[in-house]
Chain length 335, copies 2
């Protein structure tokens, strides 16, 4: 059997089985985007990594080494942020063809350092290896979180509201516009793809509220990542088409692409927005506070129910349809 046949999440299930080691210091291990390790009485250490492979995650005809550097840091910061944590130290592992230009690497590092400085990340080392394959940047990032602020995917409760930051779908639209050579009037969408902003400030505020029961960042797509919360919390969700923050701008892009905007919103990946769940009593207070402090739009898109791992959508015409948690699978889908 090849990994092509079982997909990324199938493989992760196997790895969980292969590793299954009990260590009382490890609060969350294999299976989460970020490992959670006991650091002191009040703090956890967070430890994550993510990879950008040329030809798979980026094309140098669309991006620049500078933007690649920025994005490589940003997506790791987003993983730390989604647990409610603050990023701290990074190692940069470069896997390079021999003919890589020094000027490429100086631009890559300009992006890595600039984005790192923006979020308090210090680059403390790394490794350089040669490859006969594509240029690959693998970053591992440390962070920490107060134990009482840690947010997981596994604690959403029936009745909780489902809230999302910003306007997902922009990154997927930006990528598709670039691929179709139709990106001219959509620089905001291509930027969302090439240079995403991790929601660190928003995440730290959101995580400070005990009423927030779960949180995740949207890397694989809204349905897929909401699906992780549902599966790990043993709950379901109902979301309302009317409530989805789909902008006119995204609708215009969808028209140019001959796609449905709602598909871009629900299934497009790499937005690095946050999805979180919160008990309804205090949701107003949190929404107001986060909007006021960060200027970022937040939308209540639905509610948690008891239909295990199931997502229903109430359409604008009041129909109720079942959605399959889709999203991008690294091995099964050709992007």
């Amino acid at each position: 059997m090849k990994i092509l046949d079982i997909g990324e999440f199938g493989l992760i299930s196997h790895i969980k089985e292969w590793v299954k080691k009990e260590n009382p210091e490890v609060f969350r291990g294999v299976g989460d985007d970020t490992a959670v390790i006991s650091l002191s009485r009040y703090k956890y250490l967070l430890f994550t990594c993510d990879t950008q492979v040329e030809g798979i995650h980026f094309l140098l005809s669309f991006t620049t080494p500078y933007l690649l550097g920025r994005k490589s840091i940003a997506i790791n910061v987003s993983d730390i942020a989604s647990m409610g944590g603050t990023p701290s130290f990074a190692l940069i592992s470069l896997i390079l063809p021999q003919e890589t230009e020094l000027s490429f690497l100086s631009e890559l590092y300009r992006g890595l350092v600039e984005e790192g400085n923006k979020w308090g990340v210090t680059i403390v080392g790394g490794n350089i290896s040669r490859t006969k394959g594509p240029l690959t940047v693998d970053i591992s990032l440390l962070g920490e979180v107060k134990k009482k602020h840690l947010k997981l995917r596994s604690r959403a409760k029936e009745g909780d509201l489902i809230i999302i930051t910003g306007h997902p779908g922009r990154s997927a639209a930006g990528l598709k516009l670039l691929q179709a050579n139709k990106s001219k009037d959509f620089s905001e969408l291509t930027s969302a793809h090439l240079s995403p902003t991790p929601r660190l400030r928003e995440a730290l505020l959101i995580a400070s509220y005990p009423e927030v029961s779960s949180m995740i960042d949207v890397s694989d797509g809204v349905l897929q990542d909401l699906g992780h919360i549902l599966k790990e919390s043993s709950v379901g969700a109902i979301i309302k088409e009317d409530a989805l923050p789909i902008t006119e701008y995204l609708k215009q892009a969808a028209e140019v692409l001959g796609e449905e905007a709602i598909n871009l919103f629900l299934n497009g990946g790499e937005d690095y927005e946050l999805i979180f769940t919160v008990s309804p009593d205090n949701s107003e207070k949190i929404l107001k506070k986060v909007k006021k402090e960060t200027g970022t739009n937040l939308s209540v898109i639905g509610e948690i129910n008891d239909h295990f791992s199931n997502i229903s959508l109430i359409t604008q015409s009041r129909d109720k349809i079942n959605l399959k948690a889709g999203g991008w699978d690294h091995f099964k889908d050709i992007k």
Copy 2:
């Protein structure tokens, strides 16, 4: 300019310039194999990563996925050990062709977990990415060290003895025998290459002595790695051919290969033995203790002097020759 033209260490100098960020929490950053970060009043956090690329670092015609897993962990453990530290938590970043077999990965993980268990390493997560290039395993590893036991490369002093564990040259001999299809009678040497043993127990004992002024592990070759100590400590070294622990077995292998055993010893990489320097007064005590506790052979091979970055060799015929710090450069040498 391409990285091929400046080599790995040339590139690292550039990266130091590009990153140059002052952070009082970072005791050692870019340029060392392992980052050293303040963790508490008495402890440092250690943070390192290393990569194995198919076709560059390993060939599946020589090794197995199980042994690849073991070696991938072992070489990272060696980096933590060389600072006097204890390894703790690892992330496994897999960069995989779509057609990778699940059975390959289960064997890889059997090796990763087994070697991890041997040295107290818990695998806490990682990442899976697709590539159109070679299979690549990138591991990042955490560890910690008591501040008073931390060993660096930068503190060797004139008059210190230079001591080495075990019998370097075995790994390079093993690889060359495999490449020449002449490995049949040399399983100990091929094992040294395919499944090296990090000197963690030895390193922890050695690091407990304040008389030990510097330490490094032999990943690039004895001359190259001793060269790092000399450069960073602003000292030189004189070593004696008579004192080098070159076994009859290595000499036999060298003969089969048509090479000089001393070249394998001085320039062969990937031995993961330790080189350390110690003030002569207490060296006897340390040598005895480490040999007794671990059974590992230790040899005094020379002495630190004030000839900056220069290594002289006293040959068996009492000639004194200057050696160039050689060793393997990932980008300049074709292996």
